[in-house]
């Protein structure tokens, strides 16, 4: 038994070390098919653990239909849905390809993806570009305005961002996020500081490399008008940080938390790429005018990768304004939420600190043993999609990861280590 405890102790120390030693840099924007060679025609990567068309929620189906039309695999949304029902498309999780995607998380061959390289370990991770607010594909939107915007991201913004990033050899993200935390961001539901800092880092490079003033103006306006532009970068950063933590024998640290609108799934370092799932829960939140809880879709998206690295709900104390926005209580409750998340993590990140907590580091490396023992489920800040396809975002809220995922993972870890 003492040998097993030693294995666990050393494995988790290595997991924490790899997580904290990461050096994520935003280096490029490329077509998804160039980043992920397996991504061929008819293949659609989605958020969360594996799911079939039959079990997909409304907004996920809406996004699938929309992206199939966008890629030219179907002439219209009805035809795309019919093809999906006949099994014409191959559905795989983003997480299987070093990728992540917000909400529905659609990733297909021609979409541009941002590339974050973890320069401590050499791995890369990918995420599509944030589309902005309102009716967008990540929330299940799929009308002409959504597809037109996706085409602009593919044809104009993606290539311009890639050229600009290459010209300055990328943007180092760790220090940028550290500053964002001191400016009130938690990197899930509040990204206004980091989006602004990113634009400040990019503006000169864009001006230097984009020869068309009208296009440059459009690009700068698009980024400047989207407070959540940095979210997708934070997500790719999270994936780049957590992927090297996979497959450490005996480690009980969570390497992914994700949802597909039907199931919530986690992965654990000592258990490789196996998903441990449970029915996803409904967010508890605040709604835009004209909408209410009856309109809400269950929790969805790969964006929980930011909580997996200690941001989002775990860093609520850095962003007390978010507590009110997502209905998590008064701003004064934000510190309590971060303190509580510290009870289920193994470390604090000394480079990502929260001034309001006397520069305590964000709670890092979720330990499934601590989650099961305390019964404290990870707190997640999230957007809320309409449950019907094609509508879009209707609110924002908080949701808890289902404890059942952590309990089944703990049994599997015990079996893997030979104690059950």
């Amino acid at each position: 038994m003492s040998d097993i405890r030693q294995v666990l102790r050393e494995a988790n120390a290595e997991a924490v070390h790899r997580m904290l030693a990461a050096e994520p840099v935003l280096i490029d924007v490329v077509a998804a098919a160039d980043a992920i060679p397996e991504l061929g025609e008819g293949m659609i990567l989605h958020a969360g653990p594996p799911i079939s068309w039959e079990r997909m929620c409304g907004p996920m189906r809406g996004a699938v239909a929309g992206i199939a039309v966008f890629e030219g695999w179907a002439n219209d949304l009805d035809a795309a849905a019919a093809l999906a029902a006949r099994g014409a498309f191959q559905f795989r999780p983003n997480h299987d390809f070093a990728a992540v995607g917000p909400m529905t998380g659609m990733t297909t061959a021609s979409q541009p993806v941002m590339v974050v390289e973890n320069q401590a370990s050499g791995n890369r991770a990918f995420c599509t570009i944030n589309e902005g607010l309102g009716k967008v594909m990540r929330f299940g939107g799929n009308d002409a305005s959504v597809l037109t915007r996706l085409a602009w991201l593919r044809d104009v913004l993606g290539p311009a961002l890639g050229t600009a990033l290459r010209s300055i050899e990328g943007i180092e993200l760790k220090s940028l996020v550290a500053r964002g935390l001191t400016m009130g961001d938690e990197m899930h539901q509040r990204n206004v500081a980091c989006s602004s800092l990113l634009l400040r880092s990019l503006a000169a490079a864009l001006a230097n490399t984009c020869g068309d003033r009208a296009i440059l103006t459009t690009i700068l306006s698009f980024i400047a008008s989207n407070d959540q532009f940095f979210l997708n970068i934070a997500m790719a950063m999270g994936k780049a940080i957590t992927d090297p933590v996979r497959d450490i024998k005996g480690a009980s640290v969570v390497t992914a938390m994700s949802r597909n609108g039907t199931d919530f799934g986690i992965r654990v370092s000592g258990l490789g790429d196996e998903w441990f799932t449970a029915p996803v829960e409904m967010p508890d939140g605040l709604y835009f005018p004209g909408f209410s809880a009856v309109d809400a879709n269950p929790d969805m998206g790969d964006s929980t990768i930011v909580e997996t690295i200690g941001l989002g709900g775990f860093a609520m104390a850095a962003a007390p304004a978010v507590a009110g926005f997502v209905g998590a209580g008064a701003p004064s409750d934000a510190a309590h939420i971060t303190h509580t998340m510290r009870e289920i993590t193994l470390a604090e990140n000394p480079e990502w600190t929260i001034p309001a907590l006397d520069y305590q580091g964000v709670p890092t490396a979720i330990d499934i043993r601590r989650v099961v023992e305390t019964g404290i489920a990870p707190m997640i800040n999230t957007g809320i999609a309409h449950r019907e396809p094609g509508v879009g975002q209707v609110g924002a809220g908080v949701v808890r990861a289902p404890l059942a995922c952590f309990e089944s993972a703990l049994w599997a870890l015990g079996k893997r280590l030979g104690v059950t």
Binding site: M1, I4, Q6, R9, N12, R369, E407, L413
Partner: protein, 68 residues
């Protein structure tokens, strides 16, 4: 065995009276008790606590084998 002055069981001082002032309460666990007291104007501090593994004995045993 008779108690000696070193025994921890010996009460060396009289306890403060519980009936001379208002009660001051620390409630551990179910918050309903604290809420009921607070509603009556009693000063109460709530400590969040629940049985390990939500009271699941098998999970608690597994946890004991995997704790470091």
């Amino acid at each position: 065995m008779s108690k000696t002055s070193e025994s921890p069981l010996v009460v060396k001082a009289k306890p403060a009276s519980l009936i001379q002032g208002s009660p001051r309460v620390v409630n551990v666990g179910l918050s309903g008790f604290a809420e009921a007291l607070a509603a009556q104007g009693v000063a109460v501090i709530q400590v969040d606590w629940s049985p390990p593994a939500r009271g699941d004995a098998d999970l608690a045993t597994l946890l004991s084998k995997l704790s470091d």
